[in-house]
Structures are given as structure tokens and as C-alpha cells.
Symmetry: D4
Subunit: 230 residues, 8 copies
């Protein structure tokens, strides 16, 4: 197959050439796709022996795909689906470690989407969960671990203060990851997202609410920039 953009049943043009352009292979956003569509897409990846990752996959979707393709692996907390086949090409190891922080227990699904995606792209992950700022000592207890990471992803809902506090304490890039945890005024992650965008700490960047995947890819883009391009 020559074209890097094959048609699959008239609904998708998989971008198998993306890795060449951006350094990261095509991945799949599961939400809004039928199980049939997801299964066909995974089959296309498997046919090419390419690594496959889908995010935002419900348990129902995953089960339906697994019925059609046996060698997939589903992680319920992060709602990620990974192709369990041997890929033709070695995943390029990214040099470095990403610290993934979560402010509270309810932020775990989003933090795990980030952590699993970082691992999929071949970098190291250090998980530091339930370190929200209401009990500052919890964060200060682990700040040494955070400082040893090359990139920091800080997930928080509610008032979203965690990345602001962290960015004042470390020199690494800090990616703020708002989660939809919260209620009332600013519900659905809006308060957290606005607070992160308005951070008085310098150089914090932000991804969309619950976008653990995006935070992870941003972290991997950073790790990738660390060494001479080949």
C-alpha cells in the first residue's frame, strides 16, 4: 500500500505517515466511534504491525473490539485500549522521565490516561498521587521526586492550584492538566482550567479538561526535543 492515507470503509483516513512528520504515530480517539469502526481501525493497525493506542474507550466498546480482535488489552481506570501484538518496529525509547501528579483520588482516571500514554510512547513515568494543596506537606514530602523528573504533568480538578504551586518549586516544564472533578460554580473542570490558564507561576502551559492524552504527547514532544534529531 503506497498511500499513507488509506480509506477504511469510507469513515476514516488513517494517517500512517504521521510518525514521519511529527514523530508520533497515529492514535485513536475512541469517543463517538462505533465498536465496528474501532475494530476495523485496530485491524488496520495490526495488519501493518504498528503500535495502536485508543483513548476514551468505554468498557462496552472495548469488549466489542475484543470480540473481533483478540490481542488487545484494555485498562479500565484509564479507559485506554492498546494493541497487544508485536509491532514491526521497535518503539523508539524516549530518554527521560515524566512525573505525573494528581491532586486527589478522583483525578486518577485522567492522570492514568496521561501515564499510560507516556508509557506507550516509550518514556518513563513517576506517579505521585493525592498530593493536593489542601495538605501542603503531602506535596512537599515528594517534591524531591518531582524535581528529578524531566517534565511534570500536574492533574487537578476543583480549584486547580496544584500546577501553580509546583511550578514555583521546580525548573522543569510543567504541563497543567485540569480534570472535570468538581461541582457547582466552575463545575466540570472549568474552575481548574481557568485557574491554570491564569496561573501566577511562570511558564505553566495547559491542555484541555481531562485531556490526559494531550498532556502526555506534549511531554513526549518535550523529551524528544532534548536530543539531536537524527
Amino acid at each position: 500500500m503506497r498511500s499513507p492515507t488509506p480509506d477504511i470503509s469510507a469513515f476514516a483516513r488513517l494517517d500512517f505517515g504521521r510518525e514521519r512528520r511529527t514523530g508520533f504515530g497515529e492514535t485513536v480517539y475512541g469517543a463517538g466511534k462505533t465498536p465496528e469502526q474501532l475494530a476495523k481501525i485496530f485491524a488496520a493497525f495490526r495488519a501493518k504491525r504498528l503500535p495502536a493506542l485508543a483513548t476514551r474507550v468505554s468498557a462496552e466498546q472495548a469488549a466489542a473490539v475484543a470480540e473481533r480482535i483478540s490481542d488487545v488489552s484494555y485498562d479500565a481506570p484509564s479507559r485506554t485500549l492498546v494493541g497487544a501484538w508485536r509491532t514491526r518496529r521497535k518503539a523508539p525509547r524516549l530518554d527521560g522521565t515524566v512525573a505525573v501528579l494528581a491532586a486527589g483520588t478522583a483525578d486518577l482516571p485522567v492522570a492514568e490516561e496521561a501515564a499510560k500514554t507516556v508509557e506507550f510512547f516509550g518514556a518513563g513515568v513517576r506517579r505521585l498521587y493525592d498530593v493536593g494543596i489542601a495538605g501542603l506537606h503531602r506535596l512537599l514530602d515528594v517534591i524531591g521526586d518531582v524535581r528529578r523528573a524531566d517534565v511534570v504533568i500536574a492533574a487537578a480538578g476543583m480549584e486547580g492550584a496544584l500546577p501553580s504551586v509546583v511550578a514555583g518549586l521546580v525548573s522543569a516544564p510543567v504541563i497543567a492538566l485540569p480534570t472535570s472533578v468538581g461541582y457547582g460554580c466552575g463545575a466540570g473542570g472549568v474552575a481548574a482550567a481557568l485557574a491554570m490558564l491564569s496561573s501566577c507561576a511562570e511558564g505553566v502551559t495547559v491542555v484541555n479538561i481531562d485531556n490526559g492524552f494531550g498532556a502526555a504527547v506534549a511531554a513526549c514532544r518535550i523529551l524528544r526535543t532534548r536530543k539531536p534529531r537524527r
Copy 2:
């Protein structure tokens, strides 16, 4: 004059009986009043030898009032105007101290409105400014002072994280005071206000953006509740 609600030129019904009901005398919200109206209101207070405080008073308004009534005193940073006459009745001293924190230099006008109002109602104030969370040590340096206060008012714009961090470190009531400092998404104090309402720290209460006066009255209501009512 018998009625506690005299008419002044058909535009205001001053509530001179309010102190009896709520413990706090009538005060004046300056915004939206003409200098003539303000001057007439201050004259009514002076005639009764009652303490007078107006907030949100512009320099222009203050000058216009001062032309008509000489014994007023204007504080430009906090935009407060106070009757400088001797009052008939001793201001009841409130027992206790309010710590007024400000995250950044730009939050000072609002913090000062709070501080000046607390002083007007007869309680002590401890000012602790520019202690925002991007440089956490600045807050930790003064946390002992904060802990010695009976009530804490924490003013912050931008991401508004200061009261959340403080409330995890002290046992006193913490009143979060969002300021309109900020820009872009969440501008005008919206990010700060939402973050404070969404605080993961327990028992933080919030007043409206830039409402230093309201935070101060709330603090004084708390100080007043501390002792047996007479």
C-alpha cells in the same frame, strides 16, 4: 427625629437603626452616587454624630464631598472616605485581630479596603502582602503571623490559590477575597472567584470579586460572635 429611616432628598433612606439590629452601623456604597448625594449623606451622619464610612469613592467624588464638608478623610489606595468628626458614641472595640493577606502588589487596593474597614469597626489588623503561592516560601515565612490571627482574609487575583493553601495551614476562619487582577480567560477575577468557591480546602467562604468591604464585615461578624452577647 423618631423614625430610624429618614428620607434624604428623596433618594436615600439611611438606616440609622441598623447597628441595633445587626451590630454594624450603616455605611455607604459610593459607586453610582453623585457627589451631591454623597455629601448630603455624610452631612446626615455628621448631624447625628455617627461614624461614617464610604467605600468605592473615586478621587473626584472625594474632592467634591470635601469641598462641602471639610472634616472628611480620604484614603486613595483603598478608595475609602471616613467622617473625621468626633462621634457621639464610642466605637465598640472588637476583641481580636484580622490577618489581611494579599497575593500580589496589584491586589493591594482591595486588601486595603478590607483592612481599613476592619479598622473602622474597631478590630486589629495584621497586613501580610505579596505572599502569593508562586513563591511559597514567602507565605511560609509569615505563616506564624497568620496563625496568631483570629480571622484570616486572603486576597488574590489570577488563579486565586492563596486562600486554599492558607486554609490547609491554619484553624481560624478563612475568608477568600477574589480580586479583579488578571486577564484573558477568567479575567476580571472570575478565575479567582471560581477557584475559591471550588477550593479543595475545607471551610473556605468567599465574597464577591473586589469586595474588601464585605470580607471585612464578615470578619467583624465573626469577632463579634466570640464573646457572650450583652
Copy 3:
């Protein structure tokens, strides 16, 4: 166990030292936690013989916890779950009474979350429900009861006018508690919350929509400030 921040299965760092710092023991926000997580957390509290309170607990969650830990007690209207074991340490009685007002019948679940939390922390509660301002005499009938309380929590949805009217009639601190009761423009408690923040009555402070727990902790912080700290 020495550390005040033990890890529980990699998802939570319980802050058993919080009481020392803030005067209030750790509590649990139930929303977004799996029954397994909740059960493990309650087990940790029981192991330490510490009082345990979880809020925002659904009937399903409560049943699942109760299956694992028999001595818990669930209150359906307020959605609170309390550890029914004998605690090692006497709950410090807070001196004073909190009046909990609710504007309408639909506001009861939120008001009850507040009332139950106040009781958990050891203060007295006076419930005054269905006293909304559309029938002002209902409020005026009970205003004597409100005045005898040390702190007032006023819960209201819809137009959220109750705390503003109450604050003009009493001298105690008034905590405005917006509820998500309402529909259309300003639905979900937004109208009530904005109205409370914009109150023309002085010194009203506000918590987030439906945050009965937070209003209660704020009330208890106030009661605690009433006496000399030991």
C-alpha cells in the same frame, strides 16, 4: 505508623495530622471514588479509631462499603456516611449552636449535609426549613430562633434571596449556601450563587453550590475561634 500521610493502595494519602494543623480531622469526599477505595479509606480510619465522615456518598456506594465494613451508618437524605465505631479520642465539643435555614423543601438534602456535618464536629444545630422569602412571615415567625444562634447557614436555590434578607436581621455571621434547585436561566444554582455573592446585605460569605459540608466546616471554624485556643 509514624508518618502522618500513609499511602493506601497508591490512590490516597490520608491526612491524619490535619486535625493538629487545622483543628478538623480528615474527612472524605465520596464523589468519584470507587466503593473499594471508600471501603479501604474507612478501614484505615477504623484501624486508627478515628472519627470518619464521608459526604456525597450514593446509596450504591454506601451499600458496597457496608458490605465490607459493618459498623458504618448511612443517612440517605444528606448522603453522608459515618463510621459507627467508638473513637479513641473524645470529639471536642464545640461551644455554640448553628442555625441551618432552608428556603424550600427541595433544599433539604443540602441543608441536611450541612447539619449532619456540624453535628459530626460536635456543635449544636437548629433546623429551620421552608422559610423562603416568597412568604416572608414564615421567616419572621422564626427569626427569634435564628437570632439565638451563634452562626447562621442559609440554604436557598432559585433566586437565593434568603441569606440577604436574614443578614439584614441578625448580627451573627451568615454563611450563604446556594443549592442547585432551579431551572432555566441561572439553573443549577448559578442564579442563587451569583445573587448571594452580589448580596446588598453586609458581610455575607458564600460557599459553592450544594456545598453543605463546606458551609458546616466554615461554621465550625467560627465557633472554634470563639474561645481561647489551648
Copy 4:
């Protein structure tokens, strides 16, 4: 001139036939019109000897019109401009009285726009100002006056609770008139408007923020419906 819709310099089609259709003559919304346009429109009214009212007229606009047409009369507080000429036709007196309430002094310009408009259309007005709900006795002092009115217009900014409280106390139609007085969350009258739309009091209707004119016309429509149509 036959057509009821004459063109004036290609920018306006005055609806001189409106009174026949809706019972109320054409009036002019001043905002966004040049002084030349306003002057030409007033000239057209004068030529037909019809009563003329323009609202939202700035002092500058009014001065510019008055330079061209001498017999106009401007009221600065309400920003209304009225044709001071004798009209061909007797203004039909509307039978009844409208009570115009204002919560605070800053609400007066809007309340006066309403009052002046009611007077223009020939009904009686009873002004009751500075009766906001933070000092409930101020409203209760005048509630008898309110009850004697046929229609009530209640103007309020801030938390906008006045019409809700009033509607629980009277049987007449209550038109809620939110004003742009306020700041921070819910600034510009948004909190007041949402609160009025969400009123728990029955049968309150609402006009747009600062729309004193619209409230007045609605009141006059009601007065007009009171008697047998001829």
C-alpha cells in the same frame, strides 16, 4: 402624507400608525443614533403634532437636538427627551397608578426612566426609592403604598431580591426591573436578572437590564387592559 411609514433621510421609517395597532405611539430609542438623526425624527413628530419621547439620550445628544429644535425638554437623571410642543391629540389618560420601587440610590436613573415613561403615557406614578431588602423595615414601612397601586415595577441591582419579596406581599402584577448596578460575579445586572427570572415568588415577570422604558410600557399595557375596550 398617506403612508404610515414615511422615510426620513433613508435611515428611519417612523411608525406613526403604531398607536392604532398597539395603543402606544411610536417612541424613539436614542442610543446609537446621531444627533442629526434624532433631530430629524423629532422634527417629524413635531410636524405631525404628535407626542414624542426618546430614551437613552445622552446630555450631548440632547444638547445637539435642542440646538436644532428649541421646544424639547431633557431630564438628565432619566436621560429622557420629550417634545415640549402641544400635541394635536389629547393623551388618553390611563386609569390607574404604577408604584415604582427602587432598591438603592444607584438604581434611580433606571427607575426614573420607568417613571417618566409611565407619566408620558398618561398614568399615575408613586415613587418609593431606597427600599432594598437589606433593611427590610424600609420596605415594610411603605408596603401599604405599594398595595394601593395597580401595577408594581420593582427595580434592583445587586442580588435583585426586591421584586421577589414584594410579590409575596401584594396581589397586583409585579414587573421586575433589573439594573446594571453591581460588580464582580454577576456584574452589570446579570445576577439581578437571573435572580428575578428564578424568583420563587409566583407570577413575577422580568424585562431586560436597565430597561425602565420597557417595564413602563408593560405596566401601561396592563392598565389599558383594565377597562372595556372601545
Copy 5:
């Protein structure tokens, strides 16, 4: 029982004296009440032989109430529940007719809530449905009927233009009733509500989205003002 505000099981204070004050008896907002609460409230009305109306009652709630109290009558489209017992007191007939217009078929449930409420309070109703402005002739076909009504309620979702067009064609009071019909930008009735508040037609007043009940009570307040008060 002397007091006009009896307690029902600690959750409601029925305002049986409301009719005396406002001319309209107490009614019940069904949303957020348990079937037990609803049933007890209806029982209290029946015990006093007073007319009873509840709105926003789901089919489930209605069935549960009907199990406990046999003589209630439920109308599914309008979701209203009415006490079917003979009332002690004759419903005061309101003199006049309310035209209830609906722009589209999907607006019927809200329009019917209005119509049923008007009928409950004893006035006449003229239903004119599916007369939205996209096919103007449908409205013009029935405009004579509209003109013969004393008050007009115009329900519309989507762009909410119906009341604006109607108010330019009739002299009676026009109450704009936005419905939650619509989607996308301005979904949930927000576009309609904003458009109605911003109407360029004079004297339109607005109730909250889907508040057919409130529109009806406002119409009845108007009808009631039509005659000399006794």
C-alpha cells in the same frame, strides 16, 4: 389549627394564608420532592378542602401520590397534578381570557402548563398552537383571535421571535414564555430567553425558561387588576 404556616413532617410550611395576601392560593412545585412529601402535602390541602395544584410532577411521582390519595387527577403532557376533591370555597372566577400561543409542537408541554394553570385559577383560555414565525401566515391567520384576548402568553423555543412579532400587532399585555426547545448555541432555551429580553417590541415581559406556571400566574395577576378591588 391557628397558625397559617403548619409544619408537615419538618419539611414544609404550607402557606394557606397566601391567598389572603396575594390573591392566589398556595401551589406546589413538584420537582425535587419525594412522593411521600407530595402525598402529605396533598393530604393537607384535602384536609382543609382547598384547591390543590402541583406542577413539574413526573408520571412516577403522580402514580405514587395517586396510590396514597385516590382523588387526584394527573395531566401527562403538562405534568400537572390537581386535587380532584370538592373545595370548601368557590374558586373566584377571573374575568377575562388568556390567549396561549405556542410556536411549535415541541413547545406544547410548556404551553399546556400555562394553560392548565390559568384554568385552575378560574380564567378562560384560548389555545393557538404551532404559529411560529417561520410561516408567518399561520400567525396572521389567527391574529384576530389573539387580539380578542385580554392577556397573551407566547411560548417559543429556538430563536424565540414569536412574542416580539405578536407584541407589535396587539395592544394587550404580552408575556413571553421561552421554552427549552433548541440545541447547540443557545440550547436549553437560552437563545429564546435572551431574544425575548432583548425584544425590540415594546412592553414585552419575560418569565424563566419553561416556566408556564409563572406566566399563567402573571396573566392572572393582570386579570385580577382589571376590576375594582373589594
Copy 6:
């Protein structure tokens, strides 16, 4: 039947004369209609042998209609229901082709609603799906096809950039069709709709979120304007 606006069971006034006025026959918005109402409306169309199209029809609604009227045809992805009977009158063929673009797989249901509606009104459709701007070559691969169309409909959720990029590359009218695909800040299509309205590309027009039907009718209005009107 003479009148072009017959009443169907008091809930709908079908506008069978619309085609004469606007060139497009009456169609049906399925959302919010009961199956009974839908079935009666389709029966009315069939009785007149007119082409019938309903959009936003759920599978449940469609099944219920099909039970009553056998000759209807339902397309699940686009949620459109079409009358499968022979119509009295030849559908006027519209001269020209509409290119329907979709940025991602999840946008297909909306794009298909547009495509099916264009086909219903008798114009040609060229479907070009999954050509979002994250992989620009996918769009550039098909830009020749886009350029050969007479009108372009570009559907996109998320950041909604597709129509802006397309409009810079073609001279035909471009109708931007935001979809509700997306989450977090700007969820539900809000980000896409705002971006499309704010497009820096010239002459892009926008329809509401998910309004594939409206985009299609707009495209057909354009095709219709291409030739001399008869």
C-alpha cells in the same frame, strides 16, 4: 382541502404552501415530538402524496412510526426518516453538486444529515470524510474534488478549523457546520462554532451546532439561485 395550514389534532399546522413561498417543501423536526404526532404528520404528507423528510428522529421514534405507516425509510447514522411513497410531483432537480466534508469520524452523523437532506432536495453530493487539519495532506489530497463542487459544507467539531482552511483554498460558498464533538472547555461544539464565526477566512457563513439539515437547505438555496427563476 383549501387552506394551506391544516390543523392536525391541535398540535401542528403543516405548511403545505411553503414550497410555493420559499422553494422548499415543509419538513419535520423530529426532536420533541411523540411517535403519535410524527406518525400523524407523515400520514398527512402521504395523504397529499408530498415528499416527507424528518430529521432528529431516534430509532425508537422511527420504529413507532413504521409500525403505523409501513412505507417509511429510516437511516440510522443520520437519524433521518423519509416517506417512501411515490410523490405526486416530481422533485425539482437542483442543478449542481454539494461537497460535504467532515473533519473526523465522529462528525459523520451530522455530515450525513446534511448529505441526506441535500439528496432529498434533489442535488448531487460528494462526500469527503476524515479530512481534518491535523493531517493537512488528507485535505490537500482531495482539494481538487472540493474545488469542483458548487457549494461546500465543512463539518468539524473540536477546534473547528476545517472550514477556515478550506475557504482560503476555494472560491465557492463555504458553509461551516460545527458539530458537538469535543469535550472540556468549548465542549458540545461551542469551541468549533465560535472559531467558525471568528474565521479569518473571508465569507464563511455558519449554521448552528449539529444543524446538518440547515446547512443543507442553505446549500440548496444557493444552488437554486444559480438559474433564472421560472
Copy 7:
């Protein structure tokens, strides 16, 4: 100069090749440009003898440009600046007429921006102003003129109902142009824009608030599609 994208002083890359691609020459968005930048850009157009149009040009900007380049022509009401030199190439006449409707006098500046832009691109314009729907006969008086146009642009602020009513009466494409005329809830054109996007009339498309230029280009794109391109 070969490249179609020359750099002008490092701040602009004029797209002189745009006409070839999209059929419309490069134009200039004046807002946010310094007079120096505008003057340099106009000089570049003049040097190439290309037609030049800038929109959103303030009187100050225009004067500053005119000082540097004498042969420009400024239209104050529409804030458009046009190069008054002879262009090398004949403006291609677009076949057809665009009806530009404005609901009120205050909408004229935006409507004129549209009209002037249509004329710049070589099509005919029919202006029909002050035909808002509050006086429906004003629109019905001119509907024949509207029907004779090939494309309709309908500008309206406030409740924005004009395009919805028009689209039900004509078969041509209707472009809804919301203006920022209005105040209070839905101010700045938001109510109008939402109403237009939510229009119950079929096939209305919308441009951004006050974007007369965009509406005009969209209309010209439509005219251009009408016949074989030469």
C-alpha cells in the same frame, strides 16, 4: 517581484495571489493596525495598481493614511477606506443583486459595511433599512423588493428576529448579520447571534456580530457560483 507573498516591513505578507485562488482579491482588516502599517499596505496595492479595500478603519486611521497617500476615499458611516486609483484590471462585474436589510437605524453602520463591500466587489445592492419586525408592515411593504434580489443580507441587533421572518418569505439565500446593538442580557449582539443560529426558519446562515464585510463576501461567493466562471 515574483513571489505572490511579499514582506512589508516584517509585519505583513500580502496575498496578492488570493484572487486567483478564491476569486476575491486581498483586502485589509483595519482594526489593530497602526496608521503606518495601513499606509504601507495601501502603497503596496497602489504600486501594483490593484483595487484596495480596508474595513474597520477609524477616522483617525483614515486621516493618517490620507496624509501619506492622497488618493484614498473614506466612508465614515461604514468605516471603509478604498483606494481611489485606477486599477490595472477591470473589476469583474458580478451578475446579480444583493438586498441589504437593516432592522433599525442603529444597525446602519454594519449594514453599510456590507453594502459598500458588495459594491467594491462589483455586484448590485438594494438597501432596505429600518424594517424591523416590531412593525411588521414595514417589512411587508418592501417584501417584493426583497424577493427580487438574488441574495439577502439581513442585519439586526436586539432580538435578531429579522432574518428568521424574512427566510420564511423568500426563496433566495438569507445571510443573517447580527449587530452589536442591544444591552443587558444578550448585549453586544449575543442575543441576536444566538437567535439567528437558532432560527426556526430553514437554511439561514450566520456570520459573526458586526461582520458586514464577511456577509458581503459570502453573498458575492454565492453570486459567483451562479454561472460558469469566465
Copy 8:
């Protein structure tokens, strides 16, 4: 002076130790500071011979500071003020280049704030302006330059599509910088910010609207992470 947090006139606690902690020296947010405050702060930097940068400095502020401290240098387009003295310590050169892209001419001030800040911190900058996506070839012309950069900052207002298109074409980290350029729906940069947060391109991170400074510090944090820290 020992303490790293000296007090300046009670309004600021400069964090001279920040560089040690985060790798970036203290900088100054000029907005909301009085000229006196700014001057005192710059004097403190000069006294310590530290590099000084202030952003969001108006021409008035800059002139006032320059009066007091002669060796400062103001850049009007970017509104940055830099201390022009020799610093004690060599600025650590950051290894790498940041490409700063701007979609349109109006975005230049924000892009320049970013560029100047990157230069202040010692990294290289490549400016590529007016490369917005409406004329895609402008971007494609320079994409080679973009690809050679180590980090990309893409500034855009309006529909904010630039960073999404860029991120699909390069492998470096892409920081999206929304600007407040735009009007109407999504004005003030809201449309751009939402679109960037919702980007379908992977791994884009976002800073607040107009926050060129923040984007620059984020870029420098990334450059700093590239090699072993010295």
C-alpha cells in the same frame, strides 16, 4: 542582606532566590503597579546588579520609571521594560532556538512580548509573522524554518487555528498563544483560546490569552530541560 525575600516599601517581596529554585530569575508584571512601585522594584534589581524585565508596561509607566532610573530600555510594541545595566552575572545562554509565529499583523504585540522574553532569558528567536491559515501557502512557504526550531510558539487571534495546523506538521513542542484579536462571538481571544484547547492536533499546550511572557518562559523551561544541567 541575607533573606531572599526583602520587603520593598510594604508592597512587594521580591523573590531574588527564584532563579536558584526554578532556573528563571524574578520578573515583574507591570499591570496594576504604580510608577513609584515599578521604579522602586527596578532600583532593587539594579542595586543587586540583577537582570530586570517587566512586561505589560504602558508608555506612561515606562516614562515615569525612566525619569527616576535612567538606564532602562523600553520597547513600545511589546510593552516590555528592561534594565539596561550591566548585570553581575552572565546570563546563562540557553541552547536552542524558538520559532515565534504570528497569524496576523494585529497579533504582533503579543508575539513580540514572547520574542523579547525569550531573548531576555538567552535563547535564540526566529520571527515568522503574518502566516495565518486563510492563506495556507504563507505558512507552507516557511515551514522549513519552523521545523528547524527547537520549540514553536504560535500566536493567533480570531479562530486560532494556526497552532493546530502547525502541530500536524512538526515534531517539536508547540505552545499555542491565543491573542485578544477578534470581535463579536468569541471576542477578546476566547474563540482562539477555546479552539487551541480543543485542538485535534496532538500535544498542543496553551497559555492564557495575550500571555506572550508565559509562552516564552514555557519555551525556555523546555530548552533548559534539553541537556544536563550545569
